[in-house]
Protein backbone atom coordinates (compact mmCIF):
# COMPACT_ATOMS: atom_id res chain seq x y z
CA UNK A 1 0.00 0.00 0.00
CA UNK A 2 1.24 3.47 -0.80
CA UNK A 3 1.34 5.54 2.36
CA UNK A 4 3.28 8.51 1.04
CA UNK A 5 1.58 11.90 1.13
CA UNK A 6 1.10 13.75 -2.15
CA UNK A 7 3.90 16.13 -1.23
CA UNK A 8 6.28 13.28 -0.38
CA UNK A 9 5.41 11.62 -3.68
CA UNK A 10 6.29 14.86 -5.48
CA UNK A 11 9.45 15.22 -3.41
CA UNK A 12 10.53 11.68 -4.25
CA UNK A 13 10.03 12.44 -7.94
CA UNK A 14 11.86 15.76 -7.63
CA UNK A 15 14.82 14.16 -5.92
CA UNK A 16 14.93 11.39 -8.53
CA UNK A 17 14.97 14.05 -11.27
CA UNK A 18 18.06 15.60 -9.69
CA UNK A 19 19.76 12.34 -8.70
CA UNK A 20 19.00 10.51 -11.95
CA UNK A 21 20.31 13.44 -13.99
CA UNK A 22 23.60 13.51 -12.07
CA UNK A 23 23.81 9.71 -12.20
CA UNK A 24 23.21 9.39 -15.94
CA UNK A 25 25.53 12.28 -16.79
CA UNK A 26 28.13 10.97 -14.33
CA UNK A 27 28.01 7.57 -16.03
CA UNK A 28 28.18 9.08 -19.51
CA UNK A 29 31.19 11.20 -18.57
CA UNK A 30 32.86 8.20 -16.93
CA UNK A 31 32.69 6.40 -20.30
CA UNK A 32 35.54 8.72 -21.32
CA UNK A 33 37.89 7.34 -18.70
CA UNK A 34 41.05 6.27 -20.53
CA UNK A 35 39.86 7.66 -23.88
CA UNK A 36 40.18 11.45 -23.65
CA UNK A 37 42.43 13.31 -26.11
CA UNK A 38 45.01 14.29 -23.47
CA UNK A 39 45.80 13.04 -19.99
CA UNK A 40 44.74 16.24 -18.18
CA UNK A 41 41.33 16.13 -19.84
CA UNK A 42 40.96 12.45 -19.05
CA UNK A 43 41.60 13.24 -15.38
CA UNK A 44 39.26 16.23 -15.45
CA UNK A 45 36.46 14.15 -16.97
CA UNK A 46 36.94 11.43 -14.36
CA UNK A 47 36.89 14.06 -11.59
CA UNK A 48 33.65 15.56 -12.88
CA UNK A 49 32.08 12.11 -13.18
CA UNK A 50 33.12 11.34 -9.61
CA UNK A 51 31.58 14.56 -8.27
CA UNK A 52 28.34 13.83 -10.12
CA UNK A 53 28.14 10.27 -8.83
CA UNK A 54 28.87 11.50 -5.29
CA UNK A 55 26.04 14.00 -5.64
CA UNK A 56 23.83 11.17 -6.89
CA UNK A 57 24.42 9.26 -3.65
CA UNK A 58 23.17 12.25 -1.70
CA UNK A 59 20.09 12.97 -3.85
CA UNK A 60 19.04 9.34 -4.30
CA UNK A 61 19.91 8.59 -0.67
CA UNK A 62 17.47 11.27 0.42
CA UNK A 63 14.90 10.09 -2.14
CA UNK A 64 15.07 6.57 -0.70
CA UNK A 65 14.69 7.95 2.82
CA UNK A 66 11.61 9.96 1.81
CA UNK A 67 10.15 6.93 0.06
CA UNK A 68 10.64 4.83 3.21
CA UNK A 69 10.38 1.45 1.50
CA UNK A 70 13.75 0.14 2.58
CA UNK A 71 15.53 1.01 -0.64
CA UNK A 72 18.81 2.91 -0.66
CA UNK A 73 20.67 4.98 -3.27
CA UNK A 74 22.22 1.86 -4.82
CA UNK A 75 18.86 0.12 -5.11
CA UNK A 76 17.40 3.16 -6.88
CA UNK A 77 20.40 3.46 -9.20
CA UNK A 78 20.83 -0.18 -10.09
CA UNK A 79 17.45 -1.88 -9.68
CA UNK A 80 15.08 0.43 -11.46
CA UNK A 81 14.15 0.06 -15.09
CA UNK A 82 14.39 2.68 -17.75
CA UNK A 83 10.81 3.98 -17.41
CA UNK A 84 11.37 4.64 -13.71
CA UNK A 85 14.27 6.99 -14.41
CA UNK A 86 13.47 10.70 -14.19
CA UNK A 87 16.63 12.24 -15.67
CA UNK A 88 16.67 14.98 -18.29
CA UNK A 89 16.86 13.76 -21.88
CA UNK A 90 19.94 15.94 -22.44
CA UNK A 91 22.15 13.89 -20.14
CA UNK A 92 21.34 10.52 -21.70
CA UNK A 93 22.51 11.69 -25.12
CA UNK A 94 25.52 9.65 -26.27
CA UNK A 95 28.94 11.25 -25.79
CA UNK A 96 29.80 11.83 -29.45
CA UNK A 97 33.21 13.44 -29.85
CA UNK A 98 35.05 15.35 -27.12
CA UNK A 99 33.54 18.66 -28.18
CA UNK A 100 30.05 17.16 -28.16
CA UNK A 101 30.60 15.90 -24.60
CA UNK A 102 31.83 19.32 -23.48
CA UNK A 103 28.91 21.13 -25.12
CA UNK A 104 26.44 18.80 -23.35
CA UNK A 105 28.31 19.43 -20.09
CA UNK A 106 28.22 23.19 -20.53
CA UNK A 107 24.50 23.31 -21.35
CA UNK A 108 23.85 21.21 -18.23
CA UNK A 109 26.30 23.06 -15.93
CA UNK A 110 24.79 26.40 -16.94
CA UNK A 111 21.49 25.07 -15.52
CA UNK A 112 22.95 23.02 -12.67
CA UNK A 113 24.84 25.87 -11.02
CA UNK A 114 21.92 28.35 -10.71
CA UNK A 115 19.55 25.51 -9.81
CA UNK A 116 21.77 24.45 -6.90
CA UNK A 117 22.13 28.07 -5.82
CA UNK A 118 18.33 28.33 -5.71
CA UNK A 119 18.02 25.01 -3.85
CA UNK A 120 20.33 26.33 -1.12
CA UNK A 121 17.28 28.35 -0.01
CA UNK A 122 15.03 25.28 0.14
CA UNK A 123 12.68 25.09 3.09
CA UNK A 124 13.94 21.52 3.58
CA UNK A 125 17.35 21.79 5.30
CA UNK A 126 18.43 18.40 3.90
CA UNK A 127 18.01 19.67 0.35
CA UNK A 128 19.67 22.99 1.18
CA UNK A 129 22.64 21.12 2.66
CA UNK A 130 23.14 18.86 -0.36
CA UNK A 131 22.78 21.83 -2.73
CA UNK A 132 25.40 23.85 -0.83
CA UNK A 133 27.80 20.92 -0.94
CA UNK A 134 27.24 20.12 -4.62
CA UNK A 135 27.23 23.78 -5.66
CA UNK A 136 30.87 24.30 -4.73
CA UNK A 137 31.89 21.39 -6.96
CA UNK A 138 29.66 22.42 -9.83
CA UNK A 139 31.20 25.92 -9.85
CA UNK A 140 34.42 24.24 -10.99
CA UNK A 141 32.54 22.15 -13.58
CA UNK A 142 30.92 25.22 -15.09
CA UNK A 143 34.11 27.23 -15.27
CA UNK A 144 35.84 24.37 -17.05
CA UNK A 145 33.09 23.49 -19.53
CA UNK A 146 32.47 27.16 -20.41
CA UNK A 147 36.18 27.70 -20.89
CA UNK A 148 36.51 24.71 -23.21
CA UNK A 149 33.39 25.58 -25.20
CA UNK A 150 34.93 29.02 -25.82
CA UNK A 151 38.34 27.61 -26.73
CA UNK A 152 36.98 24.96 -29.08
CA UNK A 153 34.24 27.13 -30.59
CA UNK A 154 36.67 29.97 -31.20
CA UNK A 155 39.47 27.58 -32.16
CA UNK A 156 40.30 26.00 -35.50
CA UNK A 157 37.78 25.69 -38.32
CA UNK A 158 37.49 21.99 -37.54
CA UNK A 159 36.85 22.48 -33.81
CA UNK A 160 34.43 25.34 -34.53
CA UNK A 161 32.42 23.21 -36.94
CA UNK A 162 32.27 20.32 -34.53
CA UNK A 163 31.10 22.56 -31.68
CA UNK A 164 28.43 24.12 -33.86
CA UNK A 165 27.25 20.65 -34.90
CA UNK A 166 27.12 19.61 -31.24
CA UNK A 167 25.12 22.70 -30.34
CA UNK A 168 22.70 22.13 -33.23
CA UNK A 169 22.11 18.53 -32.08
CA UNK A 170 21.83 19.24 -28.36
CA UNK A 171 19.91 22.51 -28.39
CA UNK A 172 16.42 20.90 -28.69
CA UNK A 173 17.13 19.00 -25.45
CA UNK A 174 17.70 22.12 -23.33
CA UNK A 175 14.11 23.31 -22.97
CA UNK A 176 13.13 20.44 -20.68
CA UNK A 177 15.46 21.72 -17.95
CA UNK A 178 13.43 24.89 -17.56
CA UNK A 179 9.90 23.63 -18.15
CA UNK A 180 7.79 23.02 -15.06
CA UNK A 181 5.13 20.33 -14.74
CA UNK A 182 2.66 19.70 -11.90
CA UNK A 183 5.29 18.00 -9.75
CA UNK A 184 7.67 20.95 -10.10
CA UNK A 185 4.86 23.37 -9.32
CA UNK A 186 3.81 21.49 -6.18
CA UNK A 187 7.39 21.49 -4.89
CA UNK A 188 7.88 25.17 -5.71
CA UNK A 189 4.63 26.13 -3.99
CA UNK A 190 5.70 24.19 -0.89
CA UNK A 191 8.99 26.13 -0.86
CA UNK A 192 11.00 22.90 -1.20
CA UNK A 193 12.46 23.19 -4.70
CA UNK A 194 12.95 26.08 -7.07
CA UNK A 195 10.65 26.15 -10.10
CA UNK A 196 12.61 25.11 -13.22
CA UNK A 197 11.38 28.14 -15.17
CA UNK A 198 12.86 30.47 -12.53
CA UNK A 199 16.33 29.36 -13.68
CA UNK A 200 15.71 30.49 -17.26
CA UNK A 201 16.93 34.14 -17.09
CA UNK A 202 20.27 33.17 -15.61
CA UNK A 203 20.71 30.22 -17.98
CA UNK A 204 19.81 32.33 -21.01
CA UNK A 205 22.25 35.09 -20.09
CA UNK A 206 25.13 32.76 -19.37
CA UNK A 207 24.61 30.55 -22.41
CA UNK A 208 24.21 33.56 -24.71
CA UNK A 209 27.43 35.17 -23.41
CA UNK A 210 29.53 32.03 -23.62
CA UNK A 211 28.26 31.01 -27.07
CA UNK A 212 28.88 34.53 -28.39
CA UNK A 213 32.42 34.42 -27.03
CA UNK A 214 32.76 30.98 -28.66
CA UNK A 215 31.58 32.41 -32.03
CA UNK A 216 28.77 29.84 -32.09
CA UNK A 217 25.25 30.54 -33.29
CA UNK A 218 22.15 29.51 -31.35
CA UNK A 219 20.01 27.32 -33.65
CA UNK A 220 16.86 29.05 -34.89
CA UNK A 221 14.47 26.15 -34.21
CA UNK A 222 12.16 26.38 -31.22
CA UNK A 223 11.02 22.75 -30.94
CA UNK A 224 12.05 21.24 -27.61
CA UNK A 225 11.99 17.54 -26.70
CA UNK A 226 10.53 16.59 -23.35
CA UNK A 227 9.51 13.52 -21.36
CA UNK A 228 12.63 12.45 -19.48
CA UNK A 229 11.38 13.95 -16.22
CA UNK A 230 8.20 11.87 -16.59
CA UNK A 231 10.04 8.65 -17.51
CA UNK A 232 9.70 8.78 -21.31
CA UNK A 233 13.21 8.30 -22.59
CA UNK A 234 15.10 7.98 -25.83
CA UNK A 235 16.45 4.58 -26.86
CA UNK A 236 19.89 5.59 -25.58
CA UNK A 237 19.10 5.34 -21.88
CA UNK A 238 18.17 1.64 -21.97
CA UNK A 239 21.45 0.75 -23.65
CA UNK A 240 23.35 2.77 -21.07
CA UNK A 241 21.54 1.13 -18.16
CA UNK A 242 22.23 -2.32 -19.59
CA UNK A 243 25.92 -1.59 -19.14
CA UNK A 244 25.65 0.36 -15.90
CA UNK A 245 23.36 -2.10 -14.11
CA UNK A 246 24.80 -5.32 -15.44
CA UNK A 247 26.80 -6.36 -12.40
CA UNK A 248 24.11 -5.62 -9.83
CA UNK A 249 21.54 -7.46 -11.90
CA UNK A 250 23.75 -10.47 -12.59
CA UNK A 251 24.92 -10.68 -8.99
CA UNK A 252 22.25 -9.10 -6.76
CA UNK A 253 23.56 -7.69 -3.48
CA UNK A 254 27.18 -8.17 -4.53
CA UNK A 255 29.58 -6.31 -2.26
CA UNK A 256 33.31 -5.57 -2.34
Amino acid sequence: MDTMTDLDTALFAGLCRLGDSTLVLGHRVSEWCGHAPVLEEDIALANVALDLIGQTQMWLGLAAEIEGKGRDADALAFRRDVWEFRNLLLVERPNGDFGHTLMRQFLFDAWHQPMLKALESSGDPRIAGIAAKAGREVAYHLERSADLVIRLGDGSLESHNRMQAALDTLWPYTGEMMTADATDQALAEAGIMAAPDSIRPEWDALVRDVLAEATLGIPPGTHMHKGGKQGQHSEHLGHMLATMQWLQRAYPDATW
Partner: protein
Amino acid sequence: MVSVAQVWDWLADVPDPEIPVISVTDLGIVRDVGLEGETVVVTVTPTYSGCPATAVINFEIEKALRGHGVRDVRLERRLDPPWSTDWLSEEAREKLRAYGIAPPIDGTRAQGVVAGRIKRLTGAALVVPCPRCGSDDTRAVSQFGSTPCKAAWQCNDCLEPFDYFKCI
Protein backbone atom coordinates in the same frame (compact mmCIF):
# COMPACT_ATOMS: atom_id res chain seq x y z
CA MET B 1 35.90 5.70 30.71
CA VAL B 2 37.27 7.54 27.71
CA SER B 3 37.02 11.34 27.49
CA VAL B 4 36.08 13.44 24.47
CA ALA B 5 39.45 15.20 24.62
CA GLN B 6 41.22 11.83 24.56
CA VAL B 7 39.31 10.79 21.44
CA TRP B 8 40.28 14.07 19.70
CA ASP B 9 43.92 13.34 20.56
CA TRP B 10 43.69 9.87 19.08
CA LEU B 11 42.00 11.18 15.92
CA ALA B 12 44.84 13.69 15.50
CA ASP B 13 47.05 10.66 14.77
CA VAL B 14 44.78 9.15 12.10
CA PRO B 15 46.35 10.02 8.72
CA ASP B 16 44.41 10.97 5.63
CA PRO B 17 44.72 7.94 3.33
CA GLU B 18 45.56 10.04 0.25
CA ILE B 19 47.86 12.56 1.91
CA PRO B 20 49.31 10.69 4.89
CA VAL B 21 51.32 13.66 6.19
CA ILE B 22 48.16 15.30 7.48
CA SER B 23 45.62 13.86 9.90
CA VAL B 24 41.86 13.75 9.64
CA THR B 25 41.67 16.52 12.25
CA ASP B 26 44.24 18.66 10.34
CA LEU B 27 41.96 18.31 7.33
CA GLY B 28 39.00 19.61 9.34
CA ILE B 29 36.71 16.75 8.42
CA VAL B 30 36.00 15.61 11.98
CA ARG B 31 33.13 17.89 12.93
CA ASP B 32 32.23 16.53 16.33
CA VAL B 33 33.08 13.94 18.93
CA GLY B 34 30.51 12.94 21.50
CA LEU B 35 29.76 10.24 24.02
CA GLU B 36 26.43 8.44 24.31
CA GLY B 37 26.81 6.17 27.30
CA GLU B 38 29.61 3.81 26.32
CA THR B 39 29.41 4.70 22.64
CA VAL B 40 31.85 7.12 21.03
CA VAL B 41 30.10 9.07 18.27
CA VAL B 42 32.36 10.68 15.67
CA THR B 43 30.77 13.02 13.13
CA VAL B 44 32.64 13.26 9.84
CA THR B 45 32.00 15.46 6.82
CA PRO B 46 33.14 14.42 3.33
CA THR B 47 35.60 16.63 1.44
CA TYR B 48 34.08 16.16 -2.03
CA SER B 49 30.74 14.40 -2.59
CA GLY B 50 32.35 11.60 -4.56
CA CYS B 51 35.67 11.41 -2.74
CA PRO B 52 36.53 7.70 -2.77
CA ALA B 53 38.66 8.15 0.36
CA THR B 54 35.57 8.77 2.50
CA ALA B 55 34.88 5.10 3.17
CA VAL B 56 38.56 4.45 3.91
CA ILE B 57 38.69 7.42 6.30
CA ASN B 58 35.70 6.09 8.23
CA PHE B 59 37.31 2.68 8.38
CA GLU B 60 40.62 4.14 9.61
CA ILE B 61 38.88 6.17 12.32
CA GLU B 62 37.00 3.14 13.57
CA LYS B 63 40.14 0.99 13.44
CA ALA B 64 42.16 3.57 15.39
CA LEU B 65 39.56 3.92 18.13
CA ARG B 66 39.16 0.16 18.45
CA GLY B 67 42.96 -0.06 18.65
CA HIS B 68 42.76 2.20 21.68
CA GLY B 69 40.26 -0.15 23.30
CA VAL B 70 37.03 1.65 22.41
CA ARG B 71 34.39 -1.03 21.95
CA ASP B 72 31.38 0.91 20.73
CA VAL B 73 31.97 3.36 17.91
CA ARG B 74 29.39 5.05 15.73
CA LEU B 75 30.26 7.22 12.75
CA GLU B 76 27.84 9.83 11.55
CA ARG B 77 27.91 11.90 8.41
CA ARG B 78 27.21 15.62 8.40
CA LEU B 79 26.94 17.52 5.12
CA ASP B 80 26.03 20.95 6.36
CA PRO B 81 27.93 23.26 6.48
CA PRO B 82 29.88 21.89 3.52
CA TRP B 83 33.56 21.15 4.06
CA SER B 84 35.86 23.97 3.08
CA THR B 85 39.61 24.23 2.64
CA ASP B 86 39.33 27.23 5.01
CA TRP B 87 39.19 24.58 7.76
CA LEU B 88 42.70 23.30 7.08
CA SER B 89 44.84 24.19 10.07
CA GLU B 90 47.96 26.35 9.66
CA GLU B 91 50.02 23.37 10.72
CA ALA B 92 48.39 21.25 8.02
CA ARG B 93 49.20 23.84 5.36
CA GLU B 94 52.88 23.74 6.29
CA LYS B 95 52.86 19.95 6.26
CA LEU B 96 51.31 19.98 2.77
CA ARG B 97 53.92 22.41 1.48
CA ALA B 98 56.74 20.30 2.91
CA TYR B 99 55.17 17.24 1.23
CA GLY B 100 55.20 18.99 -2.18
CA ILE B 101 51.54 20.06 -2.36
CA ALA B 102 50.83 23.79 -2.58
CA PRO B 103 48.31 24.63 0.18
CA PRO B 104 45.03 26.37 -0.69
CA ILE B 105 44.94 30.12 -1.08
CA ASP B 106 41.87 31.17 0.88
CA GLY B 107 39.18 33.13 -0.89
CA THR B 108 39.87 31.75 -4.36
CA ARG B 109 37.28 29.00 -4.67
CA ALA B 110 35.42 28.76 -7.96
CA GLN B 111 32.35 30.96 -8.09
CA GLY B 112 31.06 29.55 -11.36
CA VAL B 113 31.70 32.95 -12.88
CA VAL B 114 33.04 32.60 -16.36
CA ALA B 115 34.68 36.02 -16.56
CA GLY B 116 36.52 35.24 -13.32
CA ARG B 117 37.81 32.06 -14.85
CA ILE B 118 39.21 33.86 -17.86
CA LYS B 119 40.93 36.35 -15.58
CA ARG B 120 42.43 33.56 -13.52
CA LEU B 121 43.68 31.78 -16.61
CA THR B 122 45.71 34.83 -17.54
CA GLY B 123 47.31 34.63 -14.13
CA ALA B 124 46.00 37.97 -12.94
CA ALA B 125 44.26 36.73 -9.84
CA LEU B 126 45.81 33.54 -8.57
CA VAL B 127 49.50 33.12 -7.76
CA VAL B 128 50.39 29.71 -6.37
CA PRO B 129 53.99 29.57 -5.18
CA CYS B 130 55.88 26.42 -6.15
CA PRO B 131 56.08 24.16 -3.07
CA ARG B 132 59.51 22.92 -4.22
CA CYS B 133 61.54 26.00 -5.14
CA GLY B 134 59.25 28.75 -3.81
CA SER B 135 58.99 30.58 -7.14
CA ASP B 136 55.85 32.60 -7.87
CA ASP B 137 56.31 31.98 -11.59
CA THR B 138 53.92 29.03 -11.95
CA ARG B 139 51.00 28.12 -14.17
CA ALA B 140 47.79 26.11 -13.89
CA VAL B 141 47.75 23.00 -16.07
CA SER B 142 44.28 21.85 -15.07
CA GLN B 143 41.79 22.67 -12.32
CA PHE B 144 41.32 18.92 -11.94
CA GLY B 145 44.19 16.86 -10.59
CA SER B 146 45.13 13.51 -9.13
CA THR B 147 42.29 13.65 -6.59
CA PRO B 148 39.07 15.73 -6.53
CA CYS B 149 40.60 18.17 -4.03
CA LYS B 150 43.69 19.01 -6.09
CA ALA B 151 44.55 20.93 -9.26
CA ALA B 152 47.55 20.25 -11.51
CA TRP B 153 50.13 23.05 -11.69
CA GLN B 154 53.64 23.44 -13.02
CA CYS B 155 56.55 25.68 -12.00
CA ASN B 156 58.05 27.76 -14.81
CA ASP B 157 61.34 28.12 -12.91
CA CYS B 158 62.25 24.64 -11.67
CA LEU B 159 59.86 23.04 -14.23
CA GLU B 160 58.52 20.58 -11.66
CA PRO B 161 54.85 19.70 -11.92
CA PHE B 162 53.04 19.92 -8.58
CA ASP B 163 49.63 19.50 -6.99
CA TYR B 164 47.73 22.51 -5.70
CA PHE B 165 45.16 21.87 -2.99
CA LYS B 166 42.43 23.94 -4.59
CA CYS B 167 39.97 26.03 -2.62
CA ILE B 168 36.46 24.86 -2.06
